[in-house]
């Protein structure tokens, strides 16, 4: 066993308000493909970003090839032979493949500021040959398919003679053939003695390509196992850990059987694939799945915020046409988006204005004049009812805390008298105290007869709040669980279940 390429020990990292990593370990051997897995928020990307010099660690040590190092910047990481390929590709679409790969290192011609395009293309060509990639270096990157763009990124990373190649969800956008090609290149890289860190949710794939698997959970290191010996189930168990919280929600056992909302055969490209479900009155329907599974896309399509290719939406059994959010609101559907600052609130405006924004029609007189008495009353009623902490309804929403901002958004939809509410990550960025208030609110709303869809990436939250849970993976609904039968492991199993890989 040669020296370790990379050894990270005791790594901790905090961001304002969030403890991202706590005493984590990771090691990489030369000639190894090492998979790194964990749920959303487990800390995998954060750990690798530290290795790649994008974040700076708060505590712990990093050793590269036996020497302890400080990786202060991406440039420093590059100099140490560490390259990272992110999920979101960092390419300049208007430039060619060769220009992208050698940006900043372009071969010069006769004069110092003149570029030698021929030498550039030749260098790129040689690089591709060693990797057996068939790509013309003169092609504009924007005209390439995603898979080919990824090849460009890999080639670029390797052109730095990296010993350590970190890949974050490389197969997310690839077809099976393209994945085979990618794996061939990874094996080639491995044979050259480099080490590859492969972050992925696709557990069956990892069986194909990786030598070892490290599991992280909640910012902590769990274990490292040999891929050959570990079963997918055991890996999933490590990812979710023992469930502390299997308590069923404090909600009525059988919500009203009346179907308030029904979605049939919803489709949008590869993002939403034949999604159908029903929502009952008084029910909290949890939508679980990994980031990118398509949950937000589904609800946005139902809400009319995004167009759809096909599919029917029925409210109280009647098919309705939803082309814009205005249509959805008119039929009593409200949507609390994931990013409340970007999509849910007009930050410069005050609480009162935001609370009535979705229902202005009710507060307007014949000439279009605003009935301020009424708007103020409505706003104050909700400030009191939802316990929104604000000096007054004239306070700019920007000045409120995250939890209270979220309550303002809820107040907006309550004022609009919606009976179907879609909550997308309702407690994201909210402290523990405010979280339980939001949970209580959701329960109250359900008991009042509202029909609620709740998207959440926090498994304990979904388990605690939902009557039923739908799990999505890559645009499809892969599983449905009742509150009684749901466990974190079952959810995770459905969430990582890609199509046509049911066996194994």
């Amino acid at each position: 066993m040669g020296d370790l390429l990379v050894e990270m020990t005791g790594i901790s990292k905090s961001f304002p308000g969030v403890h991202a990593l706590d005493d984590c370990h990771f090691e990489l051997r030369p000639g190894e493909v090492h998979a790194l897995v964990g749920e959303n928020g487990a800390g995998k990307s954060t750990l690798m970003n530290i290795l790649a010099g994008i974040y700076h660690r708060d505590a712990g040590t990093i050793q590269v090839k036996g020497r302890e190092v400080e990786i202060a910047s991406p440039r420093a990481a590059q100099d140490l032979g560490i390259s990272i390929i992110h999920q979101e590709l960092n390419l300049m679409g208007h430039l060619t493949v060769a220009q992208n790969i050698f940006i900043g290192r372009e071969p010069r011609g006769a004069a110092p500021f003149v570029l030698d395009e021929k030498a550039l293309n030749k260098k790129a060509g040689e690089l591709f040959e060693t990797l057996h990639i068939k790509l013309d270096p003169r092609t504009r990157v924007s005209s390439l398919a995603v898979a080919q763009q990824q090849m460009v990124e890999i080639a670029k990373a390797l052109s730095f003679n990296s010993d350590v190649l970190i890949m974050d969800e490389p197969t997310a956008a690839l077809t099976d053939t393209e994945i085979d090609e990618l794996f061939r290149i990874i094996r080639h890289v491995r044979e050259g003695g480099a080490g590859v860190v492969h972050i992925s949710h696709r557990l069956e794939e990892l069986k194909q390509i990786s030598d070892r698997v490290t599991v992280m959970r909640d910012g902590r290191y769990v274990d490292t196992v040999g891929t050959a010996e570990a079963s997918i189930q055991s890996i999933i168990s490590m990812m979710v850990g023992r469930t502390i919280f299997e308590a069923s929600p404090e909600l009525p056992e059988h919500p009203d059987p009346e179907v308030v909302l029904e979605v049939r055969n919803l489709n949008r490209g590869r993002v939403i694939r034949d999604v159908s479900f029903q929502l009952h009155r008084g029910e909290i329907l949890g939508f679980s799945g990994l980031v990118g599974a398509g949950r937000t896309e589904v609800v946005r399509a139902v809400f009319g915020a995004d167009p759809r290719d096909s599919g029917e939406i029925l409210v109280h059994g009647k098919p309705i046409a939803i082309r814009t959010p205005a249509d959805a609101v008119a039929h009593g559907i409200g949507y609390l988006s994931e990013d409340r600052k970007r999509y849910g609130l007009a930050l410069i405006m005050d609480v009162e204005a935001n609370v009535v924004l979705a229902s202005m029609r009710r507060f307007v007189g014949r000439l279009g004049q605003i009935r301020f008495g009424r708007t103020k009353a409505a706003a104050e009623e909700h400030v009191k009812g939802l316990s929104i902490k604000t000096p007054g309804v004239s306070q700019r929403v920007r000045n409120l805390s995250g939890g209270n901002q979220q309550k303002v958004v809820i107040a907006k939809w309550l004022t609009a008298d919606t009976e179907i509410l879609i909550f997308d990550e309702p407690t994201r960025g909210i402290d523990v105290g405010a979280k339980s208030e939001i949970y209580r609110l959701l329960n109250d709303l359900a008991q009042q007869g509202k029909a609620i869809i709740m998207i959440s990436s926090e498994l304990p939250e979904i388990l605690r709040m939902s009557h039923r849970i739908l799990v999505m993976c890559e645009g499809r609904i892969t599983g449905e669980l009742s509150a009684a039968e749901a466990t974190q492991e079952k959810i995770m199993t459905f969430a990582t279940q890609r199509e046509a890989v049911a066996a194994a």
Binding site: Y343, L345, M349, A353, G368, V393
Partner: protein, 328 residues
């Protein structure tokens, strides 16, 4: 838990509150300018001169009010100057050429302005053309149409002396009626902006258009309304300038849009949207007229007036950006 409400601020209080700082600064600047010019120049101190400042502000003020709505939504309208001219030509066609009465001509001019605005709004909301480009294109369209319809010749209103009397007649305090029309329009605009659903959506669009859309508001339709309102004010401007010159001059108009936008910005309307007021805009318009007339009386050549006005505008925008950055 303590009482969570505060009484709705009165109009005067609104003027003095937090982000009305720019408005106060503008008012202060206006006072200083008036004091300065009055102090160093005797011809400036005459009643006639002060009245001419009021009259000079009337047209620009009206244009600036309309443009304020558009800028608050985060857009811009470069066509207000030429639309103004286009509407004055329409007025001329209806009243002088077709011989129709004034009470038909004036609504026709206003409607023409609103129509141009609606076209702008549709291009921007439906065709998704950036406001700068769409209104720049319409600037040329209305300019061309004004010349086509007028045969590139001025249209005179001597046959309609009541037109001049209506607007330039001095009903009160020896001040021509245009000034009162402008203030009347300002009060109406301010009411609409602060007290109606149109005004509310104007601010909402500028503050966060996507959140407004996701709240179920038909943002496309309301954008078209806002640009139509701007066009309507441009139409009013066309009527006022036609009265002042007793003619519709197809060659005039280009350049007025910059003064209008400048007035809005100096008065505290932010080019990034979400903030602005008619009161501030009117103050801004007065600053521009005071500066222009004051410099003129001092004998400063026209070219230098342009330079100075331009510097003032850049300074106002820069102050706006600084203020925004400090707050963020």
């Amino acid at each position: 838990m303590q009482k969570t409400t505060t009484p709705r601020p009165s109009r005067v209080q609104s003027l003095v509150k937090g982000d009305s700082l720019q408005r106060l600064l503008a008012l202060g600047a206006l006072m200083i300018l008036l004091a300065f010019f009055s102090a160093i120049s005797e011809p400036f101190r005459t009643t006639d001169n002060y009245i001419s400042i009021l009259v000079a502000t009337a047209v620009n003020g009206v244009l600036a009010m309309g443009v304020t709505f558009v800028i608050i939504t985060g857009g811009i309208d470069l066509s207000v100057g030429t639309t103004m001219t286009f509407c004055s030509v329409i007025l001329g066609l209806v009243v002088t050429n077709a011989g129709l009465p004034l009470w038909l001509g004036i609504p026709a001019a206003l409607a023409a302005g609103a129509l141009v605005g609606a076209v702008n709004g549709t291009l921007i909301a439906k065709a998704k053309i950036p406001p700068f480009i769409a209104t720049l294109g319409m600037l040329n369209v209305t300019r061309g149409l004004a010349q086509v319809l007028s045969g590139v010749k001025p249209i005179y209103f001597e046959g309609t002396p009541q037109f001049y009397d209506l607007f330039m007649g001095k009903s009160f305090f020896g001040i021509p009626n245009v000034v009162f029309v402008m203030f009347g329009a300002a009060i109406l605009a301010q009411l609409v902006l602060t007290r109606t659903v149109l005004g509310r959506y104007t601010f909402a669009l500028g503050s966060n258009e996507e959140a407004t859309r996701l709240s179920g508001v038909n943002v496309d339709a309301w954008k078209i309304v806002v640009y139509s309102v701007c066009g309507l004010f441009a139409g009013l401007g066309g009527i006022l300038i036609a009265a002042r010159m007793t003619s519709a001059q197809p060659s005039v108009g280009m350049g007025y849009e910059l003064d209008a936008i400048a007035a809005a910005v100096i008065g505290g309307t932010s080019l990034s949207g979400g903030e602005g007021s008619i009161v501030g805009t009117v103050i801004g318009a007065f600053i521009i007229s005071t500066l222009t007339i004051g410099l003129s009386i001092l004998g400063v050549p026209d070219q230098w007036k342009l330079v100075i006005t331009g510097v003032v505008v850049i300074g106002a925008v820069w102050l706006d950006i600084l203020r925004r950055r400090r707050r963020a």
